[in-house]
Every structure is written in structure tokens, then in C-alpha cells.
Symmetry: C2
Subunit: 64 residues, 2 copies
Amino acid sequence: MKNRIKELRTERAWTQADLAQRVGVSRQTINAIETGKFDPSLPFAFRLAKLFNLTIEELFLDDQ
Amino acid sequence: MKNRIKELRTERAWTQADLAQRVGVSRQTINAIETGKFDPSLPFAFRLAKLFNLTIEELFLDDQ
DNA sequence: ACGCGATGTCAAGCACACTTGACAATGGCC
DNA sequence: GGCCATTGTCAAGTGTGCTTGACATCGCGT
């Protein structure tokens, strides 16, 4: 499951730590999700989508 | 995180086992999600939304 | 070249998503 | 009342989402 998090984060000139703090997870979690180690939980995905003003479908790409 | 799964499933006259088979999880998992025991994973949420022809935001209600 | 912030990554641990197998409770139908 | 499909729920196990702490590496500015 790909995502546009790194792209949207760097657009805003936020560090991984900045973003982590905004959505309430650890920096390592942001890094792991950006580098495709695992997918976020559903509530966490909602928080990210809300932060970037996107739908979950726009933020996460379902490549099955 | 509330969801409309039970409502949409019964509309279609599917059993929990029917739905489970369609999205590739166990019946107990469907039951647990309908009864609010836990939230589905993000890829699983995508499969459910796709099956019901809804967006994730329409299927899952973010009550934080 | 050096320092330093940002990023990538590892290990160990905890909580939860999901499994199979089993059984009790519900509810409609004969 | 009795049968049977459906649903709810428990236990025990596996895998993954997420944590903290630590350390290596990658720019980039000076």
C-alpha cells in the first residue's frame, strides 16, 4: 500500500519528527510508513488524511 | 471508530460468513469489527469499501 | 574537514489485528 | 417444542503496528 506522505510532508517543509508530533506517533513510525515497512492503522490513516486535507483514498494508493 | 458494515451486509442479505469469504478474512473477524471489538487494518478497510462501492470515509465514521 | 540536523535502521517489548477451533445464545421455521 | 442457520464469544496462537532507545549515515552550512 503506497502513500504520498513523504511528498506532502516535504512540500510543507516538515521533518519526520514534526509530522510525528502533529499526528501523535513516534518519528520511527513515520519513517517506517514512508519507507513502506508497514501500513498505518485505520484511525492513524484518518488522522493523516485529515491533517493533509485529503481523503484516505487520495493519500493511500491501493496497489493491492 | 464506528462503521456501517452490519447495515450494508444485512441490506444485501449476506451472513457474516458470506462477507468474510468475499473479503478474505475469518467470520470471527467480521463479527469483531461489526461489534466494535477492534478496527480493521487499512488494506482490509480498502477491500470492504471497494466491495460496498463506498469510500472509506463513507464506510467508517471517525468519531475519534 | 567538521558539526549538526535529518533520516534510516536495529533490537526488544507491548498491544492489537487476525487466525482456527469450539461452544453458547439467538431467532426463525416446521 | 425442536431444529438449524446465524450470531456472539472465548481461548490460544501468530504476525504486525507502534513504542523507546540507540546508533550509523546522509546532506548541508560554515
